[in-house]
Amino acid sequence: MISVRNLKKNFGSNKVLRGIDFTLKDGEKVIVLGPSGSGKSTFLRCINRIEEPTTGEIYLDDTLITDKNIEKIRQDIGMVFQHFNLINNLTVMKNLTLAPVILKLMSEEEAEKKAKGLLRHIGLLDKVDAFPASLSGGQKQRVAIIRAMMMEPKVLLFDEPTSALDPESIGDVLALIHELADEGMTIMIVTHEMNFAKEVGTRIVFIDEGKIIEEGTPIEFFEHPKTPRVKEFLKKVL
């Protein structure tokens, strides 16, 4: 589904990504782990070019997406942010329907019907006309997730979706992601939730200093880590 070749990203003289090669297959749930500042969020953000790669190639299916207008392609790549990024000046309903309606993926009635269905599903139908400022963090993030789902993307990218949440709402958000995963959604997620990684991940990718230094199934990764760097990391976080 997604393949990345020799992806590099510099911020000025700071080399954040130093050549990443990576493939994401249909239906996979890839967990991206790594210490802070390792470049894992930047890696995720380069995939839909919210961050412009310095060099390298990214393919979505067979389309090279690094050399052309990205707007249309972004519709297929959903993204959920650490700080939710709900549009502050729009109600929950408008947050959900704005993009699909403007991009003519569906009519306004269709979009509203779909939005209501999703809101009912996550138990927030009563918030349909609320502004984001009146929602809790967990509620915001769940709305942000269904906002991405409104676009019916091929893949969902999660950039530390629970890092800004209180412990109580982390569970709600993870449960929703878990559910999407079970439904067969292709997922890439940067997280620090190790239990979630073990439970949901089909593959773990470990990034350090801008390179993938180890990857494998959760069992391989957590129980038989190969590199000293990962052993050291696991000792600290588990």
Binding site: N48, I50, E71, K72, I73, R74, Q75, I77, G78, M79, F81, H83, F84, N85, L86, I87, N88, N89, L90, L98, A99, I102, L103, F131, P132, A133, S134, A144, R147, A148, M151
Partner: protein, 234 residues
């Protein structure tokens, strides 16, 4: 005190004085209104160029905008007015009011640009990123997401700028234009009146009334824009 009242009566019972003040007042409003309009339009353009995503063809316009803002903000308004009157538009018969409007308009544009730029930059980057991630074009993101949020931050400061321009126009009396400020001075030095107190305080009241009215309108607009804030609900 008695003399003050007699002067007050004199001012308001002499059609000539009332006429002068009224004409001065209209000139002040006229200059301020068009200057604010020019300032707003030009300022908006500068701010948009300034905050646009850097690209090759915008490099020169961006540079020009920075220079413009720096020069205007770095020199006195009175000097800018003199330069407009005695250098750039030192053409016999060129309407003074146009020169004055342009001088204040060009000045206000620099401040307005900074206000609008600040307002746009104060919108969290995540808001734009959310729009990008959904596949929205940048124009749509600006129109539907960034601009509405920026306006909330801009309105109060813009209100201040409007008030500043109205009061600052008083310096056109330095180039001999007969605005409200000049009218007050003129009446005060008149043979019959020979008192500055009454006309000047009357002029002050005129300015105050306009400024008060504008503050009131701005407050109303602000309140309306705060719909999506929690503050408005509590």
């Amino acid at each position: 005190m008695e003399e003050f009242f007699s002067k007050l009566v004199e001012l308001f019972s002499t059609p000539e004085y009332i006429d002068s003040l009224w004409h001065g007042f209209l000139l002040t409003l006229e200059i301020a209104f068009f200057a604010i309009l020019i300032g707003f339009l030009l300022g908006t353009i500068i701010a948009l160029v300034d905050t646009a995503k850097p690209s090759a063809w915008l490099a020169v316009p961006k540079f020009i905008c920075r220079i413009y803002v720096t020069i205007i903000r770095g020199t006195p308004m009175a000097l800018q007015l003199f330069i407009m009157f005695f250098v750039i538009f030192a053409i016999r018969g060129f309407p003074q009011i146009v020169t004055a409007i342009l001088a204040f308009g060009f000045n206000s544009a620099a401040y307005t640009a900074e206000i609008i730029r600040g307002g746009i930059l104060s919108v969290d980057k995540g808001q734009t990123e959310a729009g990008l991630a959904l596949g929205l074009p940048r124009m749509v993101i600006f129109k539907k997401i960034v601009a509405p949020q920026a306006i909330k931050n801009i309105i109060p400061a813009l209100g201040n700028e409007v008030i500043t321009v109205i009061k600052e126009t008083a310096i056109v009396s330095m180039v001999g234009m007969y605005d409200l400020n000049m009218a007050a001075k003129d009446i005060g030095s008149g043979q019959n009146m020979s008192s500055y107190v009454v006309p000047m305080f009357t002029a002050a009241l005129f300015y105050l009334a306009v400024v008060y009215l504008i503050s009131f309108i701005i407050k109303r607009v602000e309140k309306g824009l705060r719909k999506s804030d929690l503050r408005a609900e509590s």
